[in-house]
């Protein structure tokens, strides 16, 4: 699939949503306020207690906004994976197999979700605000690192979505995995150092969600804490690539199995 073609899919999505522009904008507002509440709660906490484990408000804002931004990036392309099992059951997936495009890419183009604008606006604002507040000695290198972090975080969330979709493909829809994904995202909304050994290990070496926002933030903010060294943050892009590759592997396996079963 060529980029212009992909963008064309996106444009059609955009046009169809803009037909109900009013409703869409109101929806974005409402959702934005809802997400703002998450930040408000954290702000109130930090206002009362000054820090959460040594993390001050701008630092927490950075941590959370990276989590939300990268989630939005992954979901923009891959949220449809959460309903993938229905598509398979209804037989709707078959036409993706008969098109000349790789099924996953076709799915992404077709199901591209532009409904995450509220996430981008709210989290993006806090992201930029917190960076300005933190006034570290920003160099070109730091900025480059930040962009890499966002992309790798997005890849990790994408990997999670693809994993969820593949699982539903091969087995059945797993509400357990979905709940677990949500819980893990909640875990990584706070500095990993507040948790004990088990959780820190799980989120670093088991399901490495800590590489989405925690370790990279800790590196940028020069934190010295936690059980594992903070320089792990530099490994985030590699971890993300590995996870993404593994997820694609699982997807490929699922597709092959489906096809060979006469699907």
């Amino acid at each position: 699939m060529s980029l212009p073609l992909f963008l064309r899919f996106v444009l059609y999505k955009y046009k169809s949503i803009m037909e109900y522009r009013g409703a869409f904008l109101v929806g974005v507002w409402g959702q934005g306020l809802g997400y703002l509440a998450d930040f408000v709660v954290l702000r109130l906490l930090v206002q009362k207690f000054q820090t959460i484990n040594g993390w001050e408000w701008p630092e927490i804002a950075l941590l959370v906004s990276i989590n939300v931004l990268t989630y939005a990036m992954g979901a923009t392309f891959f949220y449809h994976m959460t309903n993938f099992d229905s598509l398979v059951i209804s037989g709707g997936f078959d036409r993706y197999l008969t098109s000349p495009l790789p099924p996953l890419i076709h799915l992404c183009a077709n199901q591209f979700n532009i409904g995450y604008i509220a996430h981008y606006i709210v989290a993006g604002s806090f992201f930029i605000w917190s960076l300005v507040q933190l006034q570290a000695d920003w160099t070109v290198g730091t900025l480059f690192f930040l962009i890499v972090i966002l992309i790798s975080g997005g890849l990790m969330h994408a990997a999670a979505f693809i994993f969820l979709g593949s699982w539903a493909f091969i087995f059945t829809r797993s509400r357990f995995l979905f709940t677990l994904y949500g819980a893990l995202r909640n875990f990584t909304s706070y500095p990993l150092s507040i948790y004990g050994f088990f959780i820190q290990t799980l989120l670093t070496f088991g399901i490495p969600f800590a590489f989405i926002n925690y370790y990279p933030s800790a590196v940028i903010l020069s934190k010295e804490e936690g059980i594992f060294p903070v320089w792990l943050g530099f490994l985030a892009p590699f971890v993300a690539l590995v996870c993404f590759a593994l997820a694609l592997r699982m997807w490929g396996y699922g597709v092959k199995r489906y096809q060979s079963a006469g699907g």
Partner: protein, 262 residues
């Protein structure tokens, strides 16, 4: 009257069909509790703030998480669905009052949630994290009353949101906004004692505090008797207000449907 009761029973049975998944919900609740408690441990350590230490906050979190399981705010999902499919017309034709029907339906679900989700979550949470007993036996009745008030207020809010759908065909924006308000002002994540001064005043003017903070505070003995009576009275006032608004809007909604030839 029997019709409503049987609807509640029907909705209870319907929920029972999903009981195999309830362990996922309980697990999710426990994970959520665990995160909450980890945060409070990091914030409070072994010291106390405003007379509240980590054990208190554990109790507070368990109470709030448990209470949220039987709140009825999500009644708007039902109405959204009903409006979209047109199924609502079937309800209006029957000699039932739709609002009461909705309440009965939610009550059935709540009964299920109470038995299969709330009690296990409460027990597991208490076992894993430690739940303090109620501060005074005198507070048991006020506590029970505050829980009932919470249920009614949450239904009232959800119902009002649902009625908006009659005009705008969607509750999406309002839902998100109100859920955001509840997240902050119900005190479920942060107790009102930790709010900055102006925020406390605002919180006391809104009905959301009854959805978590008030029952928990009564349970934990953080309110004087006067405050308890005041709050219960204000809670009742909110129920009357919400019910009144709901009736008015419902009447208007019916007229609108009739005018549109529904």
């Amino acid at each position: 009257m029997m019709a409503y009761f049987s609807q509640a029973m029907k909705s209870f049975s319907r929920s029972m069909a999903y009981r195999a998944e309830v362990w996922i919900q309980i697990g999710g609740n426990i994970l959520f509790l665990f995160i909450q408690i980890s945060i409070w441990k990091a914030l409070l350590g072994h010291s106390m703030t405003n007379g509240v230490g980590i054990q208190e906050m554990v109790t507070y979190s368990i109470l709030n998480t448990s209470l949220s399981i039987i709140l009825m705010t999500h009644v708007y999902n039902q109405v959204d669905e009903s409006l979209r499919t047109g199924g609502i017309l079937m309800h209006l034709v029957k000699p039932l009052r739709y609002p009461l029907f909705l309440f009965a339906d939610e009550a059935g679900k709540n009964m299920y949630s109470l038995l299969f989700e709330l009690i296990p979550t409460l027990l597991v949470g208490a076992l894993l994290f430690g739940l303090q007993p109620i501060s005074e036996s005198d507070h048991i009745i006020p506590f029970a009353l505050s829980v009932i008030i919470a249920m009614f207020i949450s239904f009232g809010i959800g119902y009002l949101i649902a009625l908006i759908a009659f005009w705008f065909m969607t509750t999406f924006a309002l839902r998100w906004t109100v859920e955001g308000l509840i997240k902050v002002f119900s005190g479920s994540l942060i107790p009102l004692w930790f709010f900055p001064p102006v925020w406390i005043d605002v919180a006391h003017m809104l009905p959301f505090k009854f959805l978590g903070f008030v029952p928990a505070a009564i349970y934990m003995g953080k309110m004087s008797s006067t405050e308890i009576y005041e709050n219960l009275a204000i809670g009742l006032f909110w129920i009357v207000l919400l019910y009144g608004l709901g009736s008015l809007l419902w009447w208007k909604a019916l007229r609108r449907l009739a005018i549109q030839g529904g």
